[in-house]
Structure formats: structure tokens, C-alpha cells
């Protein structure tokens, strides 16, 4: 397994090479280099996964946790507390390797066509490599600090990629927002790490039964809660979600890579990584995670319904789906998959399937946007005629996300719903309702783009056509995975909360309910949006105008943030402090200088430079002295 180090080193190498030498490389060479390196990484990941999962299990039925590399990077001189870098392989990290490398490879290939001829092509590939590297480093982290390190790198690479079109003001603003919001959340993560390190005495992931963990049991819930804030930032949980919809300003493949499939699941991965501690010491925190996630899922779904920008719809759908995963993790009550621990596996499963179909959706969106040169749904409509492959791929992914069998999303979502019902029927029903909303807005999107009212005028001016092969091949591959993965792979065999293999099975009642509701939603969406004239939709939009406007403006959360940052932080804190500094602190020293000066000015009369005055004083002095002597 020593070879796994190259999974991280190769993209780093690619980043450094493309970053430094990119200027002298042609677009084609840079693209091919980046893609080739990532191809190797993907092969290595698959190889790693293959060898890892085919290796014999340990005696207790779990897969061995391998640490092929772990070296001290930054000494902290605190005994067991070290800042190590290394590679840790366990089922979830191996699974993440596959997800990340697959999606990233698809994006690399796709970008070759999508970014064709763009200025800064080499830079783009360099950043993609950096991003892939940081994400891979994050998942194989051997300790929480390494995770934080790569976590920050993920943040910065997203900053760089979102701000790729740095001459466009919205892109700059979006990149800034993404970085600052996640950075703010990372503060929670960092404090969580500090507390964790202090009370547990190490930064390693410790098992719940170790003495270190038990020693710090009192503070672990706090630490985990703070860490979850960091996770919530990256995973765009309410109210830290605001950066994600704006992040769509980056190139579309980047959205697919970062904001759909991989980066946003970092929070999910974090919770999954700390899952044993959550269950053992902080089940309440875990449930809070679930409530937050459920609310976010609902909120995002509601907003998604009212968006007209297709990438925004997808962005909110991502937030919603991440909410699903975190709900699944949050409703767990035990590490036994049969007794309340199903959610863990469900979350990972959904993470996997969601990565595939959401990447596919974004890449499709990219194809469409490139053809119509707009993100707005009203510029589209009737696209099925022009872009058949994209159409099918998009449809597959929509069906998957809506939870229609036999697409992969059905299986993972079903597991999540089962887990929710097992936890609490109310939670189950809520999530089912959100799933229905998902189906509705996805098909609203689907019909809006591919059917509905065609923007003939625009399409005759710029006749759309199918994207080139470099762009469609990734779509096909991802669709195929989406179609087959759910019923060919038994996910529970590989990933389960306690590490042992178990057979997941469909809960018939839940499955049927959810499918029926999803189909109903799709039908509603079909009647509303399929035709040229969308009477029902328009009238509904009119009737609930206030609600619609609020949802369209994302319930004004951004404005609240704007207010808080600009008015309160800058206006009421920073500016007064700057004023205070200039006028009070500095003023004090200036006052000192001034008063010294003024005093000198006053007493400089003694040093008038008038010889007569001096002699006069001298004379008086002499006279006084003489008087003193003679008296």
C-alpha cells in the first residue's frame, strides 16, 4: 500500500509543474499533462481500493485500518500530540479516494473541451490538480490536524477556482465569499481541534474505548460540536450555506468538481470520520447535526423551487442533498447497523451516488450553458432536439436524484429514509416530503430546459448543437455509473459503522412510499412545466407572489450577512477601532509630542539668544553671589 503516497504526490507535482511551467506550455500539453496525471491517480486509487477490499478481513470481520505512511511533519513537543502527515486507509477513505479521483478525472476530461481556448487554461489545470490533491489529502488524513491542513487547502483551491474568471466582479465576490465563510467556519473547526487535542491528548483519531478518549469525555461533545461548525461551513449547512450558490460563478466543471461532488462532502466526511466518538460521547450533538441538516435540506429545496438560474437550482439541490447525508449520519444512535446505525452507511452510500449524478448534472448544465451562453432557464427550453446525449444523461441523473428505481439515487435515498424512520417517524416523513420536493424541482428544471417553452428567437440566432466528445464521454460514463451502481454493488459489505459487513435490504414500505411520492411530484412538475404554456405554474407563482419572491431571493439570508459583515463588523467594529487607533491611541502620542513641543515653546524664552538678556541674568547672579559672600 506504499503506493498510495503517490495518490497525493502526483497531483501536487502536477500543480507545481503546471503552476510554474504553465506559461511555456501549450494548452493542449498542459491539459494532457494534468489529465494524464489524474488518470494515473485514478488508476492508483482503483488499484488501492481493489487491493484493500479484496484483502482478507480481520478476525472481527472488519477491514484493517492501514497506515502506510505517517511521519512527523511539524513537531509540537507535546508528547503524543504531533502534527503528522500520512496516509490512512480505511473503508471510508478508500471509498472517498474512488469518488474524488473518478469525479476529478471526469472533470479533467470534460474541461479539456469546455475550457477550450480559455485564457489561463494552464492555470486552470494547475488549480484542478491542487484541488484534487487537497481533497485526497483530506480524506486520507491520519489525524485531525492533517485534515485541517488539507481542509484549508481545499478552501483555498476553491477560492482560486471560483475566482478563475478574476476579471469578473461577481466571480471575485463569490470566491471571496466562499473563502471567508468557510474560513469563519474553520475557526470553529480549529478551536474544536484545540479542545480535542487538549483534553484527549492527541490529534489522532482515537477509538471510543481508548483511555485518551475516556479521559477527555467531558469536553469531547464541545470539541465535536465545534468541529461540526467547520464541517457545516464546507458542507454549506444553514446558515453557512450562502457561499455555495454564489460559487457557481466559477467555470461549470469546477462547480461539478467542488461544489457538487467533492468539496461539500468534506463536512459529511468529517462527521463520518469522527462518527465513533460522536456515538460514544456526543449522541446529542449528532442529533443536533441531524436537525440542522434537515432544516437545511428543507430550506434549500424550497429555495431551489424558485430559482431560474439552472446552476443555482443545482447548487441548492446540492445543499439539500448534503443535508440528506448529514441527516442520515445524525439520526444514528448506535454503531450497530441493524440497531440504529444504518444512517452511517446510508450517508456514505448517498455521498457516493450523489457525487456521480450531481457531477453529471453539472457537467450537463455546463454543456447547455456553453450552447446558449446563459444560465437562465428562459433562454432554454426544448433543448432535447439539439443535445440528445446531454438530454439522456440529464434525465438519468434527475431520475436518480429523485429516487426512482433502478437508478443509484433510489437505493441510497431509500436507506436514508429508512434510517430516518427508524430514528423517528416524524423525521422520516419530513425527509420524505423533502425528497418529493427534490423530485419536483429537479423535474421542473428538466422540463424547463429540455421541454417547455423554447426560446426560438435565441436558438435560431445561435443554433445549439451537441457538445464535443471530450465533454460527452464523461457524461456517458457518469450516467452509466448512476444507472448501474445502485443495484450492482452491495454497499453495506464495504462500509458500515462498525466495520463489519452487513446486508442492506430495501424496506418495502419506505421504498414504495417514497417512489410513489417522487413519481407524483414528477407528474406535477410535468403538468406544470412540460408544455409551451405554463398556466398553472404562472398562476401559482402569482398567487404566492410573496413566498415566491422570498424564495427566489433565498429568503434574504445573503442580505442579512451583508448587513452583519458590512454594517456591523466593518461599520460598528472595524471603523471605530481604526478611528480609535488614529485618534485616541495615536492622538495620545501626538499629544505627547505636541505638549513637549508646546512646553519647549514656552520655555524657549529662557534661551532667547539675546545676549543682553543672558548677561543681565548673569549680572544678577553675580550680584547675588557677591551679596551672599559679603553678608
Amino acid at each position: 500500500m506504499e503506493i498510495t503516497i503517490f495518490i497525493i504526490l502526483l497531483p501536487l507535482l502536477s500543480f507545481v509543474f503546471l503552476g510554474l511551467a504553465g506559461k511555456w506550455l501549450s494548452h493542449r500539453a498542459a491539459g494532457l499533462f494534468g489529465t494524464a496525471v489524474l488518470g494515473v491517480v485514478t488508476i492508483l486509487s482503483y488499484y488501492t481500493a481493489y487491493t484493500y477490499f479484496t484483502a482478507p478481513r480481520l478476525a472481527d470481520g472488519t477491514f484493517a485500518t492501514l497506515v502506510p505512511y505517517n511521519f512527523q511533519w511539524l513537531p509540537l513537543f507535546l508528547g503524543a500530540m504531533k502534527f503528522n502527515l500520512g496516509v490512512l486507509l480505511d473503508p471510508i477513505s478508500v471509498m472517498m479516494l474512488i469518488v474524488i479521483s473518478t469525479v476529478s478525472l471526469m472533470v479533467h476530461i470534460y474541461s479539456f473541451g469546455y475550457m477550450h481556448g480559455e485564457r489561463g487554461f494552464q492555470r486552470y489545470y494547475a488549480f484542478l490538480s491542487l484541488f484534487t490533491m487537497s481533497m485526497l489529502g483530506l480524506v486520507v488524513a491520519t489525524n485531525i490536524f492533517q485534515m485541517y491542513l488539507f481542509w484549508e487547502l481545499v478552501g483555498v483551491s476553491s477560492y482560486l477556482l471560483i475566482g478563475f474568471y478574476f476579471t469578473k466582479a461577481p466571480a471575485v465576490a463569490a470566491s471571496k465569499k466562499a473563502f471567508i465563510v468557510t474560513r469563519f467556519a474553520d475557526l470553529g473547526f480549529l478551536i474544536g481541534i484545540l479542545i480535542y487535542g487538549f483534553y484527549v491528548g492527541t490529534f489522532d483519531f482515537v477509538g471510543p474505548n481508548t483511555s485518551a478518549a475516556v479521559g477527555g469525555a467531558k469536553m469531547i461533545p464541545l470539541a465535536l460540536g465545534l468541529m461540526f461548525i467547520g464541517g457545516a461551513g464546507k458542507s454549506a449547512m444553514f446558515p453557512l450555506h450562502i457561499w455555495l450558490p454564489d460559487a457557481m460563478e466559477g467555470p461549470t466543471p469546477v462547480s461539478a468538481l467542488i461544489h457538487a461532488a467533492t468539496m461539500v462532502v468534506a463536512g459529511v466526511y468529517l462527521v463520518a470520520r469522527m462518527f465513533p466518538l460522536f456515538i460514544a460521547f456526543a449522541p446529542n450533538v449528532l442529533h443536533i447535526v441531524a436537525y440542522v441538516a434537515a432544516f437545511t435540506a428543507f430550506y434549500a429545496a424550497a429555495v431551489a423551487i424558485a430559482q431560474t438560474d439552472i446552476k443555482r437550482v443545482l447548487a441548492f439541490s446540492t445543499i439539500s442533498q448534503i443535508g440528506f447525508m448529514l441527516v442520515a449520519l445524525g439520526v444514528c444512535t448506535s454503531v450497530e447497523p441493524e440497531a440504529g446505525g444504518l444512517g452511517y452507511m446510508a450517508a456514505m452510500f448517498h455521498l457516493f451516488t450523489h457525487a456521480m449524478f450531481k457531477a453529471c448534472l453539472f457537467l450537463c448544465a455546463g454543456c447547455i450553458i456553453e450552447q446558449v451562453h446563459s444560465n437562465e432557464m428562459e433562454m432554454m427550453g426544448g433543448m432535447r432536439k439539439y443535445m440528445p446525449i446531454t438530454h439522456i444523461a440529464f434525465l438519468f441523473s434527475c431520475l436518480a436524484i429523485s429516487g426512482i428505481p433502478p437508478f443509484s439515487g433510489f437505493f441510497s435515498k431509500d436507506e436514508i429514509l429508512s434510517a430516518c424512520f427508524a430514528f423517528n417517524p416524524i423525521m422520516g416523513w419530513i425527509m420524505t416530503a423533502i425528497a418529493a420536493m427534490t423530485a419536483f424541482y429537479m423535474f421542473r428544471l428538466y422540463y424547463g430546459i429540455f421541454w417547455g417553452k423554447e426560446n426560438i428567437e435565441h436558438h435560431t440566432a445561435h443554433k445549439p448543437h451537441e457538445a464535443p466528445a471530450t465533454m460527452t464521454i464523461p457524461l456517458i460514463i457518469l450516467s452509466v455509473i448512476t444507472f448501474f451502481f445502485g443495484w450492482t454493488v452491495s454497499f453495506g459489505h464495504f462500509i458500515s459503522p462498525n466495520g463489519k459487513s452487513f446486508d442492506s435490504h430495501l424496506e418495502t414500505s419506505v421504498a414504495i412510499t417514497s417512489v410513489v411520492i417522487a413519481v407524483l411530484s414528477i407528474l406535477i412538475a410535468r403538468t406544470m412545466y412540460r408544455n409551451e404554456k405554463q398556466v398553472l405554474a404562472d398562476s401559482l407563482q402569482k398567487r404566492f407572489k410573496g413566498l415566491w419572491t422570498a424564495a427566489h431571493h433565498r429568503f434574504y439570508i445573503d442580505e442579512v450577512y451583508q448587513f452583519v459583515t458590512h454594517r456591523i463588523i466593518f461599520g460598528c467594529v472595524s471603523r471605530p477601532i481604526a478611528w480609535f487607533d488614529r485618534h485616541v491611541v495615536d492622538g495620545f502620542f501626538n499629544f505627547l509630542a505636541w505638549s513637549t513641543n508646546a512646553l519647549s515653546y514656552q520655555i524657549r524664552g529662557f534661551q532667547s539668544g539675546e545676549i543682553q538678556q543672558y548677561t543681565y541674568v548673569f549680572l544678577i547672579g553675580t550680584l547675588l553671589l557677591i551679596l551672599l559672600l559679603i553678608l
Binding site: R604, G609, E610, I611, Q612, T615, Y616, L619
Partner: protein, 102 residues
Amino acid sequence: MISIICYLIVSTIMLCAGIYGFFTRHNLLAMLISVELMLNATDINFAVFNRLLYPNGQEGYFFALFSIAISAAETAIAIAIMINIYRNIRSIQVDKINKMKW
């Protein structure tokens, strides 16, 4: 015989007049004149002390002589400086010579 006190009173008056002039005048030349008065007063004292107290010695005599020589030299230099100043600022009033101050 004229008492030494009488001479001393005369020189004292001269000295005080010199001091008074030195303090009150603004004209450099006038100040210099006052200085001459003071010097003269001391010269008288030298001569008088020599003559009336130590008639056998000649120290006072010589010092008066030297003093005259020195005051001549001093005057020459001072006047040279004043002329120079006058050339530069067209005035020899002390309160106007403040270019180099502060």
C-alpha cells in the same frame, strides 16, 4: 591727597554706565561703546590701585596698557563683524539678528 575711594567711585560710575548701556541699547555699536566704557573703568582701577596702593610695582600699569591694546583689537574685530552683518541684513540691531536662531 585724594582718597582712593574717590577714584573708585568714578570708575564705578563709569562701569555702571557701561553696564546700563550694554543692557539697554539695541544697536551693536552702542553696545560696543558701552563695553569700552566698562573696560575703561577697569583700566582706571588698575592704574589707581597700582599708583595708590603699590607704587613700587608696575603690574597695574602694564595691565592697563595691555588692556588698551586688547580692547583696540577687540574693537577692530567687533566692528569688522558688524560691518559684515550690516552687509547681510542691512541692520546692526541685535534683535534683528535672528536668522540663525531656532
